[in-house]
Structure formats: C-alpha cells, structure tokens
C-alpha cells in the first residue's frame, strides 16, 4: 500500500461508514438541540417571535410552583411507569425467552405497534369512560361505576401500556443469553432459590434492565399525547407544557427552556443510574 495514501484511505473509510449517520445526527439532532438551547435564553416578542433581550429569565420562570408541580407529576409518571413496566415486563421477558413458541409471543408483544398510537390511546378512553367497558364489567359484579377517566390513573395505565414492550425487549435479549449453569452453581453452593436468583441470574440481566428502564423512563417523562387525551386537562405533564408553549401560547423561548431543563434532568438521572450500574453495588447490597 502507498504510504502517502494511507491517511486519505482512512478518512475515506470513516466518511463512508460513519458519514451518513453522522450527517443525519448533525442536521436533525445536534443543530436543532443547539437551536433550542440558544432559544431558551431569548424572549418572546409581541407576535410570538424570538427576540432579545438575552437572559436567564425563562429558567427563573421554571421555578414557579405551577411548573414545578407539572415537573413533579412528570417525574412521578416516569418513575411509576418504569417501576410498573419492570414488575410486569421482567417476568414476562423470562416467560417469553423460555417458551418454545417465543417467536410467536414476540410477535404478539409487538402487535400493538401495527395500530396507530393515537387510536390505541383513544381505545383506552372508550374502555375507561363512565359508560365504558370496564365500568360495565365492574357493574356486573355490583361495583362502581368509578370515574376512571379523566385521571392520573388513566394516564399512568396508558403510559405503561404504550412503553411496556420497550422494557421487555432488552430484558428478553439478556435472558436469552443467560448462563443457566450459574443458577445451578449457586444452588450447589447452598443458595436457596430466591438468593440464587438474586446472585446468579439478576446480575446477568442488569444490562437489559438498564436499557429497558431507560427506554421507558425517557419517553414516559416527555409524553404529552396520553396526558392530553386521558388526563383531559387534569393531568398536566412537562410535555404538555412544552407543547403549549410551542403551540397555543407561542412562547418558544420558555418552551425551549422547559425542554432544556427536561433534557438536563434526564441526562443527569441516566448518568447517576449508569454509575450505580458500573459499581456492581446492587449485588453486594443484598
């Protein structure tokens, strides 16, 4: 190979492999994010346009109780949705991974994605409303009717319903690669079933658990469609606030500040979570 050509070849290789994806990320992720960051320091003009002066006033506004409450509620939805997904999704992933027809079960798991997201959320609305199927069923047993919609419960239910598959898939992937002999080794060394699971199986699925929680927590924190439809104004999440600023209120600057704040919070949470993972601390706790 020609010595002089080597750096050019290397550059060429990098451009060909990383180039298209990199360009995409640059144009559609990095630049827009920077624009949002810049906008968050600007002010809403008389016609809803972005204008001066520059400053931190949008971030100061964030600290008002109404916004903090929306943020707290988003956090609650994010955390609860992640926990509930873990409780239901973790065993489900094991069941699917060990089932002889796991290809079929995986297909069923992903089946809802073939239907439009909005339609699925509306379906919950129909099910949960006062004259809906759920109340009718409860009524048959002489219970209810309850006001299931609009409510925080309805929002949480539909959020978990929407994002559960995102939790199951990565856990499923780690369960499939599981070394079951470690479980036997733990039994052999005197661990009863629960502790054997805790020490021999659970640590092997940490990567899947981590990926699953991230994939549920992030979108659940930012969702606004579910809260809009099933909360019907009673449940206001940070996503709803952002949507309002960019739509109804036309205060792009404040909307940008809300977005940056949400992004910063999620990144920090991820960083702390990843640190906890890396220290292998979980295993020693029990």
């Amino acid at each position: 190979m020609n010595e002089a050509a080597t750096p050019w070849r290397r550059l060429f290789r990098v451009l060909v492999t990383v180039g298209p994806g990199g360009l995409w990320l640059l144009v559609f992720v990095l630049i827009p994010t920077l624009l949002v960051l810049v906008a968050s320091f600007l002010t809403r003009g008389p016609y809803g346009e972005l204008s001066g002066p520059w400053g931190l006033h949008n971030y100061a506004k964030l600290l008002q109780p109404a916004y903090l409450e929306a943020f707290a509620q988003s956090l609650l939805v994010g955390v609860l949705a992640t926990l509930l997904s873990a409780l239901m999704g973790y065993p489900l992933a094991f069941y699917i991974a060990r089932h002889p027809r796991r290809d079929l079960l995986l297909f069923l798991l992903l089946l809802p994605f073939l239907t439009n997201f909005l339609i699925r959320v509306y379906a919950w609305l129909v099910l949960l409303q006062r004259e809906g199927l759920v109340n009718a069923l409860l009524g048959a047993f002489g219970v209810g009717p309850f006001t299931l919609y609009p409510s925080f419960f309805a929002v949480l239910l539909a959020t978990v319903y929407t994002f559960l598959p995102f939790f199951v898939l990565p856990v499923y992937a780690s369960v499939e690669r599981l070394d079951w002999q470690l479980l036997e080794a733990a039994y052999d060394l005197g661990a009863k079933p629960f502790r054997a699971f805790l020490h021999a199986v659970l640590p092997q699925t940490y990567p899947g658990l981590f990926a699953g929680s991230v994939l549920v927590f992030i979108p659940a924190m930012g969702t606004f469609v579910v809260a809009d439809l099933l909360g019907a104004g009673r449940v206001v999440l940070i996503g709803n606030l952002i949507q309002q600023q960019f739509g109804l209120t036309r205060d792009w600057a404040f909307g940008a500040a809300l977005s940056v704040f949400l992004m910063g919070f999620v990144l920090l949470a991820l960083y702390l979570y990843a640190r906890l993972q890396g220290e292998r601390g979980l295993d020693e706790l029990v």
């Binding site: 070394d179 002999q181 036997e184 733990a186 060394l189 005197g190 009863k192 020490h199 295993d283």
Partner: protein, 356 residues
C-alpha cells in the same frame, strides 16, 4: 465391598423423554475414595453426577449419601459440591467473592469467611489473585477457583464434571497430579466424571466404566484394564487384540492356530490380549521354543517416542503389538522394519477370556 459406603445408588433410573439416560444403576462409593465414572459421551455419566448434585431427580431408585436418602433433597441441602466442566464462576464477582459465596450463603461471620477463603486460596495456590475477576484469569486459574469455591465448603463428596477437559495437554497433566495430591491431603471423597481413559486410570482408586446408561464394570484401574469383563470395556480402555476362540485340548482354537491358556476353554469365547503384552522376536534367532508363538509380518510401524507400535498381519488376522523404546539388550525390545517377518509370543497368563 469392605469399608463404609458414603454414596449408595440403588436401582437409579432416569429418562429424558424417549432417551433412557440411566437404566437401573447400582453403585457404592467408599468414604475417601477417588472414584471415576468413565465412558463415552451419552453413556449417562454426567446424568449420574447431576443426580448426585441434585440438579435432577431420579425417576426410579434411591440415592443415599452418608446413610441419608437424598433422592428428593434439593442441591442446596446436600453435603456435596460440584466443579463444573466450564467452571460456572460468577463473572460479576472477584475470585474472593466466588470462593466466599457458599460461606456467605451458610451465614458465616465475615471473620470466618475471610479465614476460610484464605485457607482455600492457599490450598489451590491462588494467593495474590483475590481481587481479580474470572475474565482476567487463565483457564488453569479459573479451574483452581472453581475447585477452591467447592472445597471451601468442606463437602462430604466433591463432584467433578470433566474438570480438565477444557485445558491443554500439558496443563491437564500437571493438574491431574495436583488434583490427586489435593484429594489425598484432604481425604475428601471425589467422584470424577471423564471420557478420558488415561485420566481415569492414572487418577482413580476405582473406576466405573459406563455405557448406554448402565455400569459395565467397576474395579481398581488395573483390574478394569487387565481383566475387562466384556468386549466394550476391553475396547474402551486402551487398545486390544480380540480373537474368537473355540475349545481345544491345548487351551483354545483360534484363527492364529491353537493357543495355550491358563485354563482350557469349555465353550466358545473371545480372547483379549493387550498390545503391550505381545512380545516380538526375530525369526530363527532367540525365539524361545514355546507354545503360543505366531509368525506375522510387519505392515506398519508407528513411532510414538516412548514406544513403537507394530501393526502386524498373520494370515487373515491383524495384531497390534507395542514395544518399549528402551535399551536393546532386553529380549523383546528389538527393532523391526517394514515387511519383516517376526515371531509374536502371546503369554497364556495375558490372554483374557470373555464369555458374552
């Protein structure tokens, strides 16, 4: 059998679907024995080990350890520990964590745990590697961790599932000796599964040769090797020359002609002679004028370093004979060349009679 049986299997059977893995196995292992289960893959030896460990339960029969029926006892309540074929070390724990695991499960105090872990690591010569993770160890070191992790619990029986098969030859031979020394030092009963006949012969106090879910023969290594009970055992342990034989006044009538035996045959049988028991002499010179001399032609010579392997043919019969590569003063240690005619001496005391 004299002595105290620590492990007793009575009529143990196990099937997986259509496959019969164990078919009514009876077996007794004495306390302090180094006992090997030897057989080809699929013979049921690993199934037997898994039943002893408690990972599977027998479909029929009884397993007793130290006089207690443990057939249905879960693995965590049995006084046995296992060294797995691929070690099954916990990848997220250090060497120390792996060895301490069983002790922690027993609820020992941190001080006791530390003391015992130190003892076990000393035992297998791993001091200084406490903080390493399994992925940072060589195959041989992982093997020692697996050994320490099991032995630190002071089991009544240590089960070893082909623990040396993943290592290269030289390391395997070293670890064989270490394992034997360890066993003698601790006096723990070892039950060792292997498909390697040399390993079994070298290491064991007694060997059980298995085939198709049954035990074909149990005995001391030299018993099993020198006095195989049937054709399978004769064939599986080392190489053998097999000769069909009929009764004859001298001893037996065989395709090589009449041969003298220690006792004449009374019915048809199979004669077995090991290749190293056949002695070779040059034609006309030095051959003792005795019976059991067979003239044969050298068809192939395989030089293995320590010995020469001669592939011989006498009429329609092929024979295999080994001679040691030692000083040529010894009778029967001559070297022969391709195509040469030699005299083979088949000593009557080394012709084993099999009735099948």
């Amino acid at each position: 059998m004299a002595g105290e049986a620590l492990v007793r299997l009575v009529g143990v059977s196990k099937r997986f679907g259509e496959v019969v893995a164990l078919d009514g196995v009876d077996l007794e292992v004495q306390k302090g024995e180094f006992f090997s289960l030897l057989g080809p893959s699929g013979c049921g030896k690993t199934t037997l080990l898994r039943l002893l460990a408690g990972f599977d339960t027998p479909d029929a029969g009884r397993i007793e350890i130290a006089g207690r029926d443990v057939s249905r006892v879960p693995p965590y309540d049995r006084p046995v520990n296992t060294v797995f074929q691929n070690y099954a070390l916990f990848p997220h724990m250090t060497v120390e964590g792996n060895v301490a695991f069983g002790l922690r499960m027993k609820g020992l105090s941190p001080g006791e745990v530390r003391k015992k872990v130190a003892w076990a690591l000393e035992l297998v010569d791993l001091v200084g590697l406490e903080r390493r993770y399994p992925r940072e160890l060589s195959g041989g070191q992982r093997q020692r961790v697996a050994l320490a992790r099991a032995l630190v619990l002071e089991p009544q029986v240590l089960l070893l599932d082909e623990p040396l098969s993943a290592l290269d030859l030289k390391l395997r031979q070293e670890l064989r000796v270490e394992l034997m020394q360890l066993q003698r030092r601790l006096g723990t009963t070892f039950i060792f599964v292997t498909h390697d006949q040399e390993e079994a012969l070298v290491m064991s106090d007694r060997i059980a040769v298995m085939r198709s879910g049954r035990i074909e023969q149990v005995g001391l290594p030299d018993e099993v090797y020198e006095r195989p009970k049937n054709r399978f055992v004769a064939d599986f342990l080392g190489r053998s020359n097999l000769l069909p034989a009929k009764p004859h006044p001298l001893g037996a009538e065989t395709p090589l002609g009449p041969l003298r035996l220690k006792e004449p045959l009374v019915r048809e049988a199979l004669l077995v002679i090991r290749p190293e028991k056949i002695r070779l002499y040059p034609l006309g010179n030095g051959a003792p004028a005795r019976d059991n001399l067979v003239r044969a032609k050298v068809e192939e010579i395989v030089y293995t370093g320590a010995e020469n392997q001669y592939y011989l043919r006498s009429g329609e019969v092929r024979l295999l004979a080994y001679t040691l590569n030692q000083d040529l003063q010894e009778p029967g240690a001559e070297e022969f060349s391709y195509g040469e005619e030699v005299l083979c001496y088949l000593p009557p005391e080394n012709l084993v009679v099999l009735h099948e």
